[in-house]
Amino acid sequence: MMYLPEPAIEAVELGKTYGRTVHALTGLSFTVQPGIVFGLLGPNGAGKSTTVRILTTLARPDRGQARVHGIDVVRQPDRVRRLIGYVSQKPGFDPVATGLENLVLQGRIHGASARDARARATSLLDRFDLSGAGRRRAGTWSGGMQRKLDVAMGLMHRPRVLFLDEPTTGLDPQARLDLWAEIGRLAREDGLTVLLTTHYLEEADHLAARLAIVDAGRVVATGTPDELKTELGGDTIRAGLARPADADRARAAIEALPGVGTVVTEGGALHARVGNGAAVLPTALAALEYAGVALASISVAQPSLDDVYLHYAGRSFDEADRLGTDASRSSEAVAA
């Protein structure tokens, strides 16, 4: 019989509604095995942050259950809090205190002696390449350094599960790569379980060993990034339309061809799932020309996570992200 370790995180049918109308979660479920970086990928407003708030004992679900290493987050929040580190989207350090002071306070809150907290803080500063700035006020640090301090604070008490909510939002590309390297090391070298939420496709692709794609408050697909992409099979043909008004005619023309799967048009572009892109492309071009559709561009590509998202959520990631930003603003207003 295969040995199955106890899952680090289990979410079962989580539901949460703000006010009467904002359904943030609508039956969200996933399981995370220990020791990996697990990504919750979805556009703004999909329910990722709400999920993390529930798993970190900050918010209560209206329905469903969640456990961290087998401990129920609603019934035994105190025990869960000792197992987890949480780095929220907003900076969680004290800008007037130095980096060292921030870390030591965090360690002492979790019960470490002054000496142990200091030793741990010094080694974390070292590890995150922040030693030189450790005695300067954190408010004067660069954005990338501050984000690393936030992560280091979440690690002070040696948690078993670390929650990172949109860790690289707002960072410049170099700082983002830097933080990616650190996050990767946490699971590889420290055996930590990391749950990461992101709305960057390339971040999920690069960092996460496994992914759950979240849309409108539920998980629409799970797997490794490669599994998700190969499950789709085939290629994607993307056509940019010269006249957006041609969208319906273009879709009808492509859908009628043999070897074509789902076809979606959106924002002046057409995405078609096909078995073999190179084989279908010439007939697709001919069909479009016959239908009188003028093209701005056309390309064939291996499936990306964007295609995975498009396939399961029925709309492209960027489109959902734009719509979701507005929706999450209104749900934040309700929450506030």
Binding site: R53, Q89, K90, P91, F93, V96, A97, R108, A335
Partner: protein
């Protein structure tokens, strides 16, 4: 329990460190009470010629201004909470093992320490300006106790309002709305005998007046200790109620997340 005490101590330390690193704010916190005392002392100096002030207006005024200052600076206590909420500090705190009562106690302890320092500065200023306080050190201790209790009442209220409204502007509006009427509907500056009847009646229900009455009484040569204990008891009960309210407000805040 010991963990809660450690947490309260650590968080109080954090807030005092923050205060010590904002020199301009710290200076204002320390100088303002002196200004109040000397300003009102000068402005209303000739009032002491009326009956009810014992001839020494500065001595009459000192305990009242101590109480008023405690109330005013405690009214701002919630702004630190709003700041923590705007940053991720509150989220981090609420997902750590810190218990809610420890958060409340830390906030109130911070406020009590500031109040003690401010009060001692005002008594020093009063003595230097020639006021005399016959009640001596026992009287001074009672005044400090009253000031601490009134600071806890208003800090607790301010914290609770901060957690419910979550906005600096709204919190400040609430504080402003309360502070001046409560100061003027009391015997801080004017003897009870000289108040219009309706003000005197309202003042009986004003916690700021309870603190002012008990403080002045304790500084007399022969205080009516019954009166002092009664008002201090009322203040203590109200302070506990406000502390409880602040702890409840954390729960309400969290339920809305």
């Amino acid at each position: 329990m010991t963990a809660a005490i450690t947490h309260a101590r650590l968080l109080t330390g954090r807030s005092l460190r923050t205060l010590s690193r904002q020199p301009a704010y710290l200076l204002f916190t320390l100088v303002q009470p002196m200004v109040w005392l000397l300003l009102f002392g000068q402005l209303f100096r000739r009032i002491a010629e009326l009956p009810g002030f014992g001839g020494d207006y500065l001595a009459y005024l000192t305990p009242g201004v101590v109480v008023m200052t405690a109330m005013m600076s405690a009214g701002w206590a919630g702004t630190a909470i709003v700041q923590d909420m705007e940053r991720g500090v509150m989220d981090r705190t609420l997902t750590s093992p810190i218990k809610r009562p420890a958060l409340v106690v830390a906030g109130l302890t911070h406020q009590a320490l500031i109040t003690i320092v401010q009060s001692l500065i005002m008594f020093g200023t009063g003595l230097a300006a020639g006021a005399r306080y016959p009640g001596g050190s026992a009287g001074l201790l009672v005044v400090l106790l009253c000031a601490i209790l009134i600071a806890m009442v208003f800090a607790g209220l301010s914290n609770a309002v901060a957690l419910l409204v979550r906005q600096q502007e709204a919190l400040i509006a609430v504080a402003q709305f309360l502070v001046l009427p409560l100061a003027f509907l009391s015997s801080i500056m004017i003897a009870p005998e000289l108040m219009p009847g309706w003000v005197a009646r309202v003042a009986r229900f004003n916690p700021v007046d309870w603190a002012a009455v008990a403080s002045r009484e304790a500084l007399r040569a022969t205080p009516d200790w019954g009166l002092v204990f009664e008002r201090v008891g009322l203040l203590a009960a109200l302070a506990l109620l406000m502390g409880w309210l602040a702890a409840r407000a954390y729960r309400t805040y969290q339920r809305s997340l």
